[in-house]
Amino acid sequence: MSGPPPPAGWTADEMMTVAAARQLRDGVACFVGIGLPSTAANLARATHAPDLVLVYESGCLGAKPDRLPLSIGDGVLADTADAVVSVPEVFNYWLQPGRIDVGFLGAAQLDRYGNLNTTVVGDDYAAPAVRLPGAGGAPEIAASCREVVVIVRQNPRTFTSRVDFVTSVGYGTGPGDRERLGLRGGGPRLVITDLGVLEPDPVSCELTLTRLHPGVTREQARAATGWELAVAEPLTTNDPPTAHELAVLRALQATAEGSRP
């Protein structure tokens, strides 16, 4: 990892999670994957966004877990959901028509246009250097949600000039591509990393560094990016995690640990 050492009692991952949580407005419907997206979404729900609607691809609509779910099919999601529907239904009736405001995704690779790879690393699909889990719900989440937020640790292997496999489309090869492809969602609005925040340039759609986390320099961000990173002027700095955010986040993560039998 290329992130800085924790400067003031919090880690880069905690800053990343807090920054992601802050982006979720109360009351919106959010399609969340397990891991960092789920942690950030549950942090948002436990802090400023109590009416955030969490949708999991296992069919749980409006899940309100009191601990961090350990998988997309954790029983706590079904137990606390407003409705549990079938997997075909969650994709066909809820995701596909554009009912979900925010899609929350991770990635193993992403490029300057926010295209995501979670399939294979290496040039030969049939004989990959690393076989990743695959697409899951991501291609249609990336296509159909009103906007997409990506949460991913920043380093030159992950932030690559060309993804080895397009699992989920960001802005394709640039402006107008989503429209040409008929993708109805808005595409990546934010990429939140352990170093800062990137946003697509309104004209070129290229991901541009717009914010740094406290203690991170633009040089560190550039060094962690496999292409020549565009930087916005002025470049702002995120507020550090508040004591409340950190306390809630750590309590949440303790529930995940505590669930080990």
């Binding site: 397990i34 691809e57 296992s58 069919g59 749980c60 350990l70 998988s71 997309i72 099919g73 954790d74 029983g75 999601l77 079904a78 549990v84 079938s86 997997v87 075909p88 994709f91 066909n92 995701l95 596909q96 399939t119 699909y125 004989a127 990959p128 250097a129 690393v130 076989r131 990743l132 889990p133 695959g134 697409a135 899951g136 719900g137 991501a138 291609p139 249609e140 296509a143 159909s144 496999f165 397009v166 699992t167 989920s168 489309v169 394709g172 591509d177 492809l181 008929g182 993708l183 109805r184 669930s259 080990r260 039998p261």
Partner: protein, 272 residues
């Protein structure tokens, strides 16, 4: 009407070498015991189908049962990668594994088409991704009303689908609840089906969120208490998260894996 049979007999009768086999479940109600019985009976050349191949598929692949995997997300849920799956793909061990991969939306709709007696399903999906380059089962179709081009996926019709459920009655009516995933579609899409259940009861008391599969739509039911372990059966058991975490180390090494398989599957005997 579904027949009530012991698990070993059900697998012997319903799962054949070379079959297209779907053991479905979405983290919840994974039919581990049935998967182990397939390994014990040393089935070969299977095409394994599942949206979320996880540890039981890692075991089936590592045991050499599978020729091909049709899937949309292969991982150890909440833990990380599947090492037997990766070893098969990256190093052809213990044998090469062909892959056909889709998105969740695509796989779900492929089952829906199969359950509906249709040759294909229509969705908004895959567009712009590299997925369609690697399978003939994703295509396009034009709307005859608007002219819009949409994605088409070919129906899935497994030879046999295996799922785990909480309960069945003596007539083979099956009841499951909690996260029920794509199990109804997977059973209805298949030519044959086997449902393992936590228990057979005289009468199925209705439960909120239940899915009921009538006995006349199921081929066989086997009573296998704990048959989803280390997965869980809502109302009967909790997920053994330690097992999933421990699997990461067990499965990293071929010899450790083989020793585990020998001890916990081959020498364990049929569960029922």
């Amino acid at each position: 009407m579904a027949t009530l049979v012991p698990l070993a007999q059900a697998v012997a009768e319903l799962v054949r070498d070379g079959d297209v086999v779907a053991l479905e479940g979405f983290t919840h109600l994974i039919p581990f015991a049935a998967g182990h019985e397939i390994i014990r009976q040393r089935r070969q050349e299977l095409t394994l189908v599942r949206m979320t191949p996880d540890v039981i598929y890692d075991q089936l692949i590592g045991a050499g049962c599978a020729r091909r995997l049709v899937f949309s997300w292969g991982g150890n849920p909440g833990v990380g990668s599947l090492h037997r799956f990766r070893d098969a793909v990256q190093h052809s061990w213990p044998r090469p594994l062909e892959l056909e991969e889709h998105s969740h939306a695509g796989m779900a709709n492929r089952y829906v088409a199969g359950a509906s007696g249709l040759p294909f399903a229509v969705l908004r999906g895959y567009t712009g991704t590299d997925l369609p380059r690697h399978t003939a089962n994703v295509s396009s179709v034009d709307c005859p009303f608007t002219g819009e081009t949409l994605t088409a996926v070919a129906a899935l019709r497994p030879d046999v689908t295996v799922v785990h459920a909480q309960r069945a009655d003596r007539a083979g009516n099956v009841q499951l609840w909690g996260i029920t995933g794509v199990q109804k579609e997977a059973v209805l899409a298949a030519h044959r089906s086997l449902v393992t259940v936590e228990e057979v009861v005289p009468e199925l008391t209705p439960v909120p969120g239940q899915v009921v599969l009538p006995g006349w739509a199921v081929t066989a039911v086997a009573e296998v208490p704990g048959g989803a372990h280390p997965s869980y059966a809502q109302g009967y058991s909790v997920r053994d998260n330690d097992f999933y975490r421990a699997w990461d180390a067990v499965s990293r090494d071929r010899d450790t894996f083989r020793a585990w398989l020998d001890r916990h599957v081959h020498r364990a005997g049929a569960a029922a």
